[in-house]
Structures are given as structure tokens and as C-alpha cells.
């Protein structure tokens, strides 16, 4: 499909000639997305192509675009940094314009005392962090890493990460918000709407914040978030990371008031117990089960390889076979990383004592090799900044998360062996990367202060190899099957798989959900906010005819 000349001109008049294009190749570069090949016909790497791409420069322009799209019944799909197939147009046949928000890239305010920053969509986490640490503050960088938009994770996507236990989930930290609704209204939530500033996202009265994002956000399917304030936290580290080491093995000295550990445990029960004890004792500035994302069998060898800039993946087998690495691999089968940060030296010494007691109670230990300066300094920088997070793509360029059902630590360790057995079996074909069955990665807590965990099984495949893509698709399906057979929700891949469904399939799935009412209510909310259906189905709903809630 193509935009009519009239529509193109109407949009062009808003953003200017230089900020709109309907060139096929240009639009295809927006359609190209990670994971598309797992849901698109013929394993294409392209999602549906937008009819035009626009790079608006202000909220006023966005409002005008949205109103124009209402007039012409064109769908609008905004994105901030644009990573993920969620960010692209979703359905063939829909005329969708892609809004690339990269020009909304300002950090508008950092309020040091009141600990919040006001940001636009294209401010990525590291940009914000780099400015914050200069004034002793920090922000939660989500698990997807340094390159993600802070606004997007707070409003529209997932917002947990290694720092969540201390800093909170980004949805918890979302304060006031400026939102161009699909109707083209500009809503300002919380204190902002009352002209009282950015510091509060709730109210007045019932929080409209509640329709802006829930367990997940609308991922661009329900208007455009143009500014938000995000709560910040204390950073007791240096004003700038002094980077040492050679690319890519950057590292930075660990300050005296920090401790960086990889902790390992004799059993999953002990591992889970440690989580609870850490929660109960308010420990952990950064707490993440991170390094086994590259596989229980191969992860330690990878990290050692990665930290030697003269080495490449060609060397990984040889490294993995070294006796000391084999020993390390076994040692780290059930391990996580934790960074303690003390507000004072006496505080960090105390935290260290508490951690030692937790290790004594649980039978855990500090992994010696990981506390040696090279890897400890690497770990400190890596987890503080998450600037290497796309190493989850390192083996062959393809990765998909599976499992990842959130819940209490006791709950999550129940599915971990199932996930491990499932992946090991899948890897037998040789069509997936054979890095070990347990590549379960997850934040120490998905919520501020602890309480909930989740473990995502990282599965690597080669997106350039259609058989490997097929194996990945099969693995995704099987992960859901095994999970549900054992009484767990189908997990992380459900919304992935849903991208490839027809509307009818999707609605059938929603109708069978635990509470179909959720989707009926969301339909009503959509009807209220998006009467002309210019958003997409990333905001999920059930049509009226599928009534199944008894009421």
C-alpha cells in the first residue's frame, strides 16, 4: 500500500519535506526487525513495511500527525530507539506511518534534590546515567541494556533490570507523563496536569497512569508518550567511569565502597534461599543472574575469552577445555552477580558481613576467579552500565528469550530444571547453539526492594540459516508446551508468538485467557481513546462478540 498524495502532503506540511519519506528501501529499514523471522511468512526479516516514515520534532507536530492520521484513517506506530519487532507496523494491509522519535532527544531537567529527571523518548539509558552520575544520582537500566529508551521502558515495555532491586522497576519509577492520545489530545498525568511539576504520576484521584501502562505498556499501540519524569536514586560511585582495558574488554576500578561478587550455590534451593535472605536484609545495589545467559556449559569460557581482546569465538572451545575453566564452569552452574554499594565505608563493611552470613546460612560461596581484578572490574562496569548487553546475540546473531515466568524465588526455581531439560533436548539437533541447557538469566528482583524474580532462558540461533530459525520457532512452541503441561503460564514467548497470529487467532487466545474481562475492558478503553483505531493491536483487546465473562 502507499500513502495517497494528499495524505503524504498533509503529513509533509507538518514535519517538513526533510522529515518524511515513503521510499521503499527507507521504509524497509524500519520494517527490518529482530525476531521478525520467527513470525513472518517465509521467515522474512521484515515486518510489514510502513507506508511512510516520519521524524517529528515536537509534541505539537506529533499531535498534528495523530490528528491527520485520524482524518485519513492511517495507523500511527511510534518508536523511540526501535529495537524489537514490537516497534514495527504489525499487520500486512494496514496503512501505518512509522514515527521515529529520535529528534525528541533532550534531557529536559535533572532535579538533584528531588531525584527525578525529565526526559524525552530518544534519551537512552546510558546518556541519562552519564549525566546523573556526575551529580551522584543513577537510574535503573533495564535488562535490555544501555541502548534502550528510558521513557519507553517506563511507559511501554519492560522496565526491570539488574538495578531494579535498589532502584525500582521503571514502571514504579514513572512519575508525570505527557501523552498524545490516539485521539490527538495531550494528556498530562499526575502533578503535571495540575501544573504542579513533574514529581508525581498518580492522581488526581484515580490514576490515569493506570491506563498508560500495566504489566507491560502498549508498545506504541496507544498513542505517543512524548515526555516523562523518572525517579532517580543515589549513586555512591565516581562522577565518571574511568575506563581501562582494550575494546571490547573495558573495565573500571572498583571504588572502596563497592563490592562486586559472583555468588554460587550448591543447589537451586540454596540459590532461592539466598534471594530471600538478600531481600530481607536490604542488600544489593545491582543484583542479577547475568553471566549464565551465554550458557551454563559455555558461559565462563566465553567471559574469559571476551576479556582477552586478542581472542575471538574461534578460541572458545580451546578455552572451555582448559581444566581451570572446566572447574569454573561447574562452580558457576547456579550463580548470580551482586554489587554492593555502601553510602559509607562502615556501611559497606557491614553489608559485607551480612552477605558472609547469608553465604554461611545457604552454603554459598564467592566465585574466586570472578573476584580477581580483571573480571571483577569488568563485572562492575558491565552491570553498572549494561553496555555489552547485546552479547546475548554474540554467538550467531539470533536470540530469543523463553520461559521467564515471574514469581517468588521459590516459584521460579521450580521451572528452571524444566527449562534446562527442554533446551538441552532442543539443542541435540545442532540447529541451535549448544551452550548448555541452563541459560537462565534474570534480575535479582523484578520489583523495587525484592520479592519477585524471573528467569529467561536465552536461546541462540542463526537468523541467516532458515533451518536454525525453524528450530528456534519450534523451541519457542515447545517451551510453552512444557510450561503449560507443568502448570506454569506459557511464558515470555507468548507475546512473541502472538505477533505472527491473525486477529482471529489472537482473539481466540484472549477469549481463553484467565480473565477475558481484561481484554473486554481494554476494548472499551481503546474505544474511548482510539475511536478510529489508529493504534495497533499491541494494545490488546477482545471484540464485543467474544463475550465470555459471566459478569
Amino acid at each position: 500500500m502507499a500513502l495517497s498524495k494528499e495524505t503524504y502532503r498533509a503529513l509533509e506540511d507538518i514535519v517538513g519535506t526533510e522529515n518524511i519519506s515513503d521510499d521503499p528501501a527507507l521504509c524497509d529499514s524500519y520494517a527490518f526487525q529482530w525476531l521478525a523471522e520467527t513470525v513472518r511468512p517465509n521467515r522474512s526479516h521484515f515486518m510489514p513495511r510502513p507506508v511512510a516514515a516520519l521524524v517529528p520534532g515536537s509534541v505539537e507536530e506529533i499531535q498534528a500527525i495523530v490528528k491527520t492520521c485520524n482524518r485519513y484513517r492511517i495507523k500511527v506506530k511510534p518508536y523511540s530507539t526501535g529495537w524489537y519487532f514490537y516497534g514495527a507496523p504489525q499487520k500486512d494491509g494496514d496503512d501505518t506511518v512509522q514515527l521515529d522519535l529520535r529528534r525528541l532527544n533532550r534531557i529536559l531537567e535533572i532535579d538533584e534534590g528531588n531525584m527525578y529527571a525529565v526526559i524525552e523518548p530518544y534519551v537512552v539509558a546510558t546518556q541519562l546515567q552519564a549525566e546523573l552520575i556526575k551529580v551522584g544520582l543513577n537510574c535503573n537500566i533495564i535488562g535490555a541494556g544501555a541502548s534502550t529508551s528510558v521513557l519507553a521502558s517506563a511507559t511501554s515495555y519492560s522496565g526491570g533490570g539488574p538495578g531494579t532491586i535498589w532502584m525500582g522497576h521503571n514502571s514504579e519509577s514513572l512519575l508525570a507523563l505527557e501523552w498524545v492520545t490516539p485521539r490527538g489530545d495531550i494528556l498530562r498525568t499526575g502533578s503535571l496536569g495540575s501544573g504542579a511539576g513533574w514529581f508525581c504520576g498518580e492522581g488526581p484521584g484515580p490514576s490515569l497512569r493506570g491506563i498508560c501502562r500495566g504489566a507491560r505498556g502498549a508498545r506504541g499501540g496507544m498513542g505517543v508518550y512524548t515526555k516523562c519524569a523518572i525517579k532517580l536514586t543515589h549513586w555512591p560511585g565516581p562522577a565518571q567511569f574511568d575506563i581501562e582495558g582494550t575494546v571490547p574488554a573495558y573495565r573500571t576500578p572498583i571504588p572502596d565502597n563497592f563490592r562486586v561478587y559472583s555468588l554460587a550455590f550448591p543447589s537451586l534451593a540454596a540459590f532461592a534461599k539466598a534471594y530471600y535472605r538478600i531481600y530481607d536484609n536490604d542488600l544489593g545495589y545491582i543484583f542479577h543472574s547475568q553471566f549464565n545467559m551465554l550458557g551454563g556449559d559455555l558461559g565462563p569460557a566465553f567471559w574469559i575469552m571476551y576479556n582477552d581482546p586478542t581472542k575471538t569465538l574461534n578460541d572458545i572451545e580451546e578455552i572451555a577445555q582448559k581444566p581451570e575453566v572446566k572447574k569454573l564452569t561447574e562452580e558457576m552452574r547456579r550463580a548470580f552477580q551482586i554489587i554492593l554499594a555502601g553510602r559509607s565505608l562502615r556501611d559497606i563493611e557491614f553489608q559485607d558481613k551480612v552477605l558472609d552470613q547469608i553465604l554461611a546460612e545457604t552454603g554459598g560461596w564467592k566465585v574466586g576467579r570472578m573476584t580477581e581484578p580483571d573480571l571483577a572490574e569488568f563485572t562492575y562496569l558491565y552491570l553498572s552500565r549494561l553496555g555489552h548487553k547485546h552479547l546475548n546475540m554474540v554467538y550467531a546473531g539470533g536470540y530469543s528469550g523463553t520461559w521467564n515466568q515471574p514469581g517468588t524465588p521459590d516459584y521460579t526455581i521450580q521451572y528452571r530444571p524444566l527449562a534446562e531439560a527442554q533446551l538441552r533436548a532442543e539443542q541435540q539437533s545442532g540447529l541451535l547453539v549448544q551452550a548448555g541447557g541452563d541459560s537462565m538469566m534474570g534480575p535479582g528482583s523484578t520489583l523495587g526492594g525484592g520479592g519477585n524474580a524471573s528467569f529467561e532462558q536465552f536461546v541462540s540461533y542463526d537468523p541467516a540459516d532458515k533451518e536454525s530459525v525453524n528450530a528456534m520457532k519450534q523451541c519457542m512452541r515447545n517451551s510453552m508446551k512444557v510450561a503449560t503441561e507443568h502448570g506454569f503460564p506459557a511464558g515470555h514467548v507468548v507475546p512473541y508468538v502472538q505477533i505472527g497470529m491473525t486477529d482471529e487467532q489472537l482473539h481466540q487466545q484472549f477469549a481463553k485467557a484467565n480473565q477475558p474481562l481484561v481484554y473486554h475492558l481494554q476494548r472499551k478503553i481503546k474505544e474511548l481513546l482510539d475511536p478510529n483505531d489508529i493504534g495497533d493491536r499491541m494494545y490488546s483487546w477482545l471484540p464485543d462478540s467474544k463475550d465470555s465473562q459471566p459478569g
Partner: protein, 423 residues
Amino acid sequence: MALEDYRADMLRCTRCSYCKWVPFDQMKSGKFAKGCPSVEYNRFQPYSAGGRLAAALSLLEGRSSYTERFVDIAYNCLLCGSCDVSCKVCRYNIEPLRAMQELRFKLVEDGQLLHQHKAVIDGLRKEHNMLMKPGAGRGKWAEGLKVKELTKEKAEVAFHAGCRMSYDGRLQGIARIAVSLLQKAGVDFGIMGENEFCCGGRAFHMGYRTEFTKCAEYNIGAWTKAGVKTVVTSCSDGYHTFKRLYPEVGSNFEILHMVEFVDRLIKKGAIKFTRTVPMRVTYHDPCHLGRQGEPYAPWNGKEKKIRGQIVVYEPRKPRYNGAWGVYQPPREVLKAIPGLELIEMERIKEYAWCCGSGGGVKDAYPGFSAWTARERIEEAKSTGAEAIVSACPWCESNFSDAVKGNAMEMKVYDVMELVQQAL
């Protein structure tokens, strides 16, 4: 290689956008966080490495065809390689810079040319330089210098001035300083003078592979005939071309940039500074000396898979990720100058922001080129430095133009000019 050979790279791109930024660990502020000038200036996604690969894939898959915009996407890039470094923070099996270069080769082969480039290339074909100047005037910069001409005499060392220094009146002095330093150090060297040809590097980056090869074959032949073993140049473009591109054409000369040569001389005590240069300066790493100035390693192999699907290479493939570029020698030279204070910018070494002069952009997109330089001058100013120093005439020329064109207060020097002041 052909563009098709990079199809797997395109498919394995995860569109993570690392290519748009400096390596995240190195990000020191919100302001100077961007790494890719092309996408910053041109805004749309395909002006990033990831986007360009996607557009190329679209072309290969027949989803799109050549359009004015497509041609613009392919050429409107400095090929500075910042994307390549940042991509490879997390990747070992993808080559965005090479793929983008290959895209240009394909466009040229398919006749999808920029008329601005065509004019320059026509000049190269006729006059053997990239500045559309008469070939006959190429040796004038060396007039009055008592230096061997390698077409007449033999020498172990060749000094290659390069197009920009040969013709640009503002920069010829740098080549003369280089010659005088080589002379002072008692080096047995010569120049090609009027018979010097362009290195061909800039033609290569514009996508003109044949013209590059011709230049390379000529220069290699001339040096071989003159008994040259080492080639020294003050031009970082030339350095990269000789060091990284010529070996593919059969060259095996030792290649040194003047900053490396002078660094050696200082360390050996062959150069001693006698005057102070009281100045706060900041150093700009030229892309072709820094991240793209890594040593060449031959490789002729193929992809293979281990552990099911891990993509590796047989034999082991050299990894160019900016780790081993020429970063310290220019800094060592500057630090050795009495009274001179070196302050670093935020984006340095393998993640330096480009000067805006490369990739044929200066010729075809002067506005983009000037903007890129202006951004760098702003960054230099933010350090409190009074001068920006580089080691490439193309950088210096572009910075000087930006300073002049925008009435900015910043002095622009080549490292050699400051060395000269301190002697």
C-alpha cells in the same frame, strides 16, 4: 567479495542500534554520546549501519530497487567506522563497515553514481589526484627542498605527501616539516614528486574499486622500482590505504605515519625539543589512523560453525574492531613537547567522532561534512582547549573550513606543526 557475500551479516544484524552510539562504557555525557554522524545528520534509520544493511537486504531481496533516496542512503555516509567499533563490542561475526563499502562498489558497478563523485574520479583518472588539479603541479610543495626523487634515485624510505598536502597551500607546510624532520634524523628517503599518484583510498571509499586498484598498482610498482622498503606519510587516509588496503593488491612495505616515525625519533633521542609551546590542545584521532589504522592481517577463509550454530571462521579471521589503532604515538609526541598541555575530548581513540571529510562526503554532501566538523570543534571547545590537533590533512582542512565558515574560535594544527614549533 560482493554485496551478496554480506547477506548473512545483514540477516544477523539485530538492529540493536549500538552502531549509532559510542561504545556505551565510554559514554561520558548525554551531549557527546552519539557515534554515527550520518544518522545524526540525516535522521532516518537507514542512515545508520544497521539501517543501511537492512536497506541493502531489501535491495538484494528485490523488495526495493534503486531510487534517488537509495543512492543517497548508500553514499551519505563518511564510512568513518564508528559503527563498526560499537557493533563489535558485542559481535564477532558481522562486518558492517565492509558491507557498507561493498554496497558502494555495487552501486558504482551498477552505474548508480553521484555526479560530484564522478567529476572527482574523472580528475583522478586524468590527473591522478582527488582535488581535480593538474597532475603537473603535484611536486611543487617540495620545491627548494633537497630531497631525492624516487623516479631518479633509490632510497629505502619513501615519503608520500598525498593529494591534500601536495595541493592545499595551507597544508603544504606540513609535508615540508615532515621532510625536514626526516632529513634531520638522517633518514635515507625520497619522494615521488610530480610523479606521485593518489593513494586511491578515497576512490575506494567512493566505491571505485578499479580506480583504486590502478593507483595501488602504480604506487607499488614505483616504490618497488625505487628500492623502497618503508613508506612514510603524514596523511592518515594514505596511511590506512597503504597499510590496510594495499596488501590485498600485493604490497608488503612497512607503512609508518609520521607521528609514529617522530615518536620513535623522540624516544631514540634523535629529536630534541628546545622551545616551549605553551598551549592547551586537544587531539583528534583521524579515523584512518585510529580505529581503521589497525595492522593488516591476511585472511582467505570461510565461515564455519561450532557448537551447532556458533559462527566462527576457518582459519581464524582477523578482527578489526579498533583495538589496535595508532592512538598512543601522536599523544606521546604531543606530551613530549615542552609547555604543551594535552586535554582529551570525550570521544577519542576507537570511538572518536569523525572530522566529516571521509567517504566522499566532502565532495558530495558539503553541508553534512561541515556539520560533522562543527560538532567536533564544539566538542573540542568543551574541553577548554585553544587548539585542535590532528594527524591528517583532510581532518585539518575540514576543521579549518568549519572554524572559518562558522566564525568559531579554535586553532587547528597538525601534530607536525607543533613539533616544528618546539624544535
